[in-house]
């Protein structure tokens, strides 16, 4: 303890100060008054040694202490104003008096004898300490007369149950102490292992104890501000654990932190409603506002966020322990069975909760166990949660379907390699769904550009006509408004590039994003960029790779191989090719296929197309390795593989040679795969989505919005293998289900047949369009109002709440961080404008840990209730306006078809914009790492 005494601070107290003349009179009066008050307190304390403490005594002491507190405050205030040049602290006579007389200790000792008034006295002491800790610039903690009684007081608080006000004071004091400790880590040991060193009497005397921490744990799940402060303080302790591994070890090994957190989480989850009361037909996920509207959910989410934050800031030991507890104690025994329930209502609720959890969890460690949970094969009677979820895509209940589609949208939004592999890539990786002769096309990015025409051609005829009429109207308007000169073609080009490119083509905010192709392109650009950024971190780029690399050891009879090569080449009608294969050595077998891989499709085709003076021959004697040189003046393209005995020499005009084409894949499948064509599964996930898409015209509008959104989301991944089934109509597939284009074609035919090109149909389309645009504006306005309300409430919260200063200490703790990014994206997206619910989806997510938001949400909630969102309402208005019978099935069917046609049309635009953007983004991407 000698270091404590030799502290320079201590000297400043014990030394009589001379240079205080400026504040001398004031501080003299203050300190006199302070001493007087203490004298009286002291009298009472002395008196009480002989008799039972009376009510009056306590009252008087509290009264005096109040005065003393005020005086101390005045003194501290004065002190803090003055900055002495030599870095010393100005004198504080009251404080010095308090410390030198060991006043706090006397007070504590007396408090032990106050009997039933002890809580009141304790409250006063807590207040006093809190004040001193938070307002004094002095490091009071290094002074024994301060520290010792404080520790005694804290120790006496253990294992006690306090009334709310005392508990609150205690938590505030602990929080303050944590803040001080964060700034002065070296003081940590004072509160740590305190039992022996300070010789205090505590339960289990020799046990290591970090008293601040153990006092905070009971408040971890508390409601309201006390819970918040306790969690803040605990997080500070967690951050301390990274600076001081003693703390980490203590929390992990000796505290009940992890079990308390996890059991609390389980308890809170169990108290969540088993079914969610849904107000609007387009409800699909729990928003931040819903969380605030449901107290049970608020509590649960607070607790979950806290776990997330702990994982983020805590020592490795604590983190691993907590993650383990969460998996074994919450995910497997609680969340799993909840998701696997059989009742549809409970399924909807539990899926929505799962979605919320997945969206809220930001820490990689936590995400990892969530993914492990989804993929766990063993814990749930051999059922995998992910498979169960996939099954629900085709649920007859549209709410369950929507929640499931949303959940998968969230899962795709994680950009997780493992999940994508399980859902999709696993089934596509060998490209067995594509005929051999077509496989070389997969990585050909330039072909994406042509997809646009094909996709847009799939729009229902009635939509094409309707769009044409609309375009004519628009161009008429345009001509009228700018009657000066007709825009020339070049003008249009620069107009789109310069003015509109980055702004959805919107100059005034009052415009709808409906059918705005530029907006789709911009949206695709942003989303692909983001997705690609994530996917660039993956272990593989999942471009199509020839399976030969994986089958180097596969042996095949020479003749068979040669025959396959011949057959393969003859598919391209390359009569000019003469093949001589040096195949006497068995070890060369695989090389043959390797080198044929090097043949470049484009070159081959260009040979076929052009005059034919090019020749192609093998030079069996060539043994060295040649690199293709684009600047090769001789015009010979030489392609050889190491150790290969085959060289291909092509006589091509030098300017036709591309730097990259030499390494493009020319694939040869030489396995039994040849015979399995036509029965290849794309996996349950895509199969389910396809089959839901097949019922497009009878799905509800909202299901279709989410379904198309999910498909677009899949297409946004920069994975040519995935695009081969979504964005490449030029590549046929041989899967066991109809291809994506076949499905789209059937939908087009269906709509064309049932909604023929008539005036009535066009009118229905018009009404449907108006309905969708109205809905878009309603959602935007609802968001606007909600955001404003939120802003106002935040402003008032800032001015009133003290806790903000404490939370700011925790800069690393940022729950919903990932959500924040999402929020921006969702405000940028177009199709999602339709998809959004009337609630302010993610707008308040970041504020959702602030208690004060609740107040603002009354406004939002009422807004949501008043929104005429249900389709029923709209239906009747549509029917009214068409003047047709409201109950006529045929009319309803036509109305649904019209809406479906519009959505299909927009979906095709979304997809084609993705393919256009992709054609640029992925170009030459597969050569990057070569």
């Amino acid at each position: 303890m000698s270091w404590l005494r030799s502290s320079p601070l201590r000297q400043s107290f014990s030394r009589r100060t001379q240079d205080i003349s400026n504040t001398g009179t004031d501080s003299k009066a203050v300190s006199d008054s302070f001493c007087k008050h203490w004298q009286q307190v002291s009298d009472i304390i002395n008196r009480s040694e002989n008799r039972q403490t009376q009510h009056d005594d306590v009252l008087a002491v509290v009264n005096h202490l109040d005065h003393m507190t005020t005086l101390l405050l005045v003194e501290l205030h004065n002190c803090n104003k003055i900055a002495l040049p030599n870095g010393q602290h100005p004198p504080a006579p009251c404080l010095e008096f308090m410390l030198s007389e060991n006043l706090l200790d006397s007070l504590y000792e007396w408090s032990l004898s106050t009997g039933r008034y002890s809580n009141a006295v304790r409250l006063e002491q807590l207040k006093l300490y809190e004040l001193l800790v938070s307002h004094s610039r002095h490091q009071l903690l290094v002074h024994e007369p301060f520290l010792r009684p404080l520790l005694k007081l804290l120790a006496s608080c253990q294992n006690e149950i306090f009334p709310h006000d005392v508990g609150k004071r205690l938590v505030i004091l602990l929080n303050q102490l944590c803040v001080v400790l964060m700034q002065n880590v070296h003081l940590l040991d004072l509160f740590f292992c305190s039992t022996q060193q300070h010789g205090l009497q505590m339960n289990g005397a020799n046990q290591t104890n970090f008293i601040i921490f153990s006092l905070l744990i009971p408040y971890v799940h508390s409601d309201g501000s006390i819970g918040h402060q306790a969690r803040d303080a605990l997080l500070l302790c967690m951050s301390l654990s990274q600076k001081n591994s003693n703390i980490g070890t203590y929390i992990a090994n000796h505290s009940s932190m992890s079990p308390v957190l996890v059991t609390g989480l389980c308890g809170l989850y169990s108290s969540l409603p088993n079914s969610i009361e849904v107000h609007s037909i387009d409800w699909f996920r729990i928003t931040a506002d819903d969380v605030n509207d449901m107290p049970e959910l608020t509590l649960f989410m607070n607790s979950l966020e806290f776990c997330n934050a702990v994982v983020q800031v805590a020592h490795l030991l604590i983190r691993d322990q907590l993650l383990d507890f969460l998996y074994q104690g919450f995910l497997v025994p609680v969340l799993g069975p909840a998701v696997l329930q059989t009742n549809v209502e409970s399924q909807i609720a539990s899926m929505a909760y799962l979605d919320l959890i997945l969206r809220s969890v930001t820490e990689p460690g936590l995400l990892k166990i969530m993914i492990k949970f989804l993929l766990d094969n063993e814990k749930f009677d051999g059922e995998r949660i992910l498979d169960v979820l996939i099954e629900r895509i085709n649920s007859p209940d549209s709410r369950l379907c929507m929640v499931t589609l949303t959940l998968f949208d969230t899962i795709l939004g994680l950009h997780n390699e493992q999940l994508m592999t399980e859902l999709i890539l696993k089934y596509l990786i060998g490209a067995r769904h594509i005929p051999i002769a077509q496989k070389h096309k997969i990585n050909k990015i330039q072909a994406y550009a042509k997809t646009v025409d094909y996709l847009l051609d799939l729009a229902p005829e009635v939509m094409k006509n309707s769009n044409m009429i609309l375009a004519e109207h628009k161009s008429l308007d345009y001509q009228q408004s700018s009657s000066a000169s007709l825009p020339t073609h070049t003008n249009i080009v620069s107009r789109t590039i310069g003015a509109n490119w980055n702004h959805y083509g919107l100059h005034n905010t009052g415009e709808s994003l409906y059918s705005n192709y530029h907006a789709y392109l911009y949206d695709a650009h942003q989303k692909i960029k983001r997705t690609k950024y994530s996917c660039d971190q993956w272990t593989d780029n999942y471009f199509y790779k020839s399976p030969h690399k994986q089958r180097q050891n596969a042996k095949m009879p020479n003749e068979q191989l040669v025959q396959i090569v011949r057959n393969f080449l003859s598919e391209f009608n390359l009569d000019t090719i003469t093949t001589t294969l040096m195949s006497d050595e068995p070890s060369n077998i695989n090389n043959i296929s390797n080198s044929s891989k090097q043949l470049d499709m484009d070159s081959l085709q260009s040979i076929g197309e052009s005059s034919g003076y090019e020749s192609m021959k093998y030079r069996p004697d060539e043994d060295e390795e040649h690199q293709i040189n684009s600047g090769n003046d001789s015009g010979n393209q030489i392609s050889t593989n190491i150790n290969s005995n085959i060289t291909i020499v092509k006589n091509i005009e030098p300017w036709r040679i591309s730097r990259f084409k030499d390494s493009q894949l020319f694939d040869l499948e030489i396995t039994e795969d040849i015979f399995t064509q036509g029965t290849v599964s794309l996996g349950p996930f895509l199969t389910s989505i396809w089959s839901k898409l097949q019922t497009f015209t009878s799905n509800s509008l909202y299901v279709n919005l989410h379904l198309t959104g999910l498909i677009s989301h899949i297409a946004l991944y920069p994975l040519p293998l995935v695009h081969s089934i979504l964005l490449r109509p030029d590549i046929p597939t041989t899967s066991d289900i109809p291809s994506f284009y076949q499905v789209l074609k059937i939908l087009k035919q269906q709509i064309d047949a049932e909604l023929p090109m008539t005036e009535d149909s066009l009118e229905l389309i018009d009404i449907g369009r108006t309905f969708l645009i109205d809905r878009e504006f309603k959602l935007i306005n609802a968001r606007k109002i909600a955001l404003e309300a939120l802003k106002a409430s935040n402003a008032s919260q800032l001015s009133t709440s003290q806790t903000n200063t404490q939370t700011s200490q925790l800069q690393t703790y940022d729950p919903f961080k990932r959500q924040d990014d999402k929020r921006k994206s969702s405000s940028n997206s177009i199709m999602s404008i339709f998809r959004r619910t009337s609630t302010t989806t993610a707008s308040s997510n970041s504020n959702n840990n602030n208690a004060g938001v609740i107040g603002a949400n009354q406004g939002i909630a009422s807004l949501r209730d008043h929104q005429p969102n249900s389709l029923e309402l709209q239906t009747s208005s549509i029917n009214d306006s068409t003047g047709l019978g409201a109950n006529s099935y045929i009319n309803e069917r036509h109305r649904d078809l019209a809406i479906a046609a519009i959505i299909l049309d927009e979906f095709l635009k979304e997809l084609s914009s993705i393919s256009q953007e992709m054609s640029i983004v992925l170009l030459n991407e597969n050569f990057k790492n070569i």
Partner: protein, 231 residues
Amino acid sequence: MPIDANSSDEIIDEVLCTTKTEYRILLELKLISTEFNTGSIYIIPSKSNSLLWNGIYFIRSGPYKDAILRFKIQLETNYPNQKTPPELKLEFPIEHPLISPDTQIFDSSHAFPTWNESEHLYSFLKYFKYAMENFDFCVNLPIEKIINIEIAELYKKDQKEFKEKAKEMIVKSVNQIFIPTGDENIFSYDRNSIEEDEEIHQSILENMKTVADNLPESFSFLFDNRNRSLH
């Protein structure tokens, strides 16, 4: 089930056509930036019109080695469905068998008698580069393909005089790139800053030593800042 994707007639939306042209241009630019990754030719679309490109060509071999040529390429509005190859016009009156002495337009009809959407601009530019660097190839073309017969004859008959003439043009061409022009997206160089600033000067020299063989793959002034360059 190969699918016929030739349904462009169906597309009524003018904006969409424009978009397609623009995306094709982006694609061409990206291809060019990767195909010419060792320098020599650089392209940037003009600020006001994406169909008009500014280019600069640092000749690294052939009789005009060390010359620097600025040029413009004009695409038609229906690119890539135009019937003839794009028009490439040099800003400097360099004499070459395939360049018209009057209009300074490069004649590519030997390699590209027609144009269609399967052609790429990088091969057009590669042909340009090939022709500029291989006089022997040019002078041996059929006579009707040669535009500037005078220089072809000179090259064939009097190598000495040709070389002198070439030297003169090389010097002139280098001087010309310092003359500023109106377009904001053009390759122009400030002689003062290059010559006076020791650091830049040194770094240019350093660069020139290494540039030819190891420019990074991602070297591209166009695509990493796609939004900027197309604004």
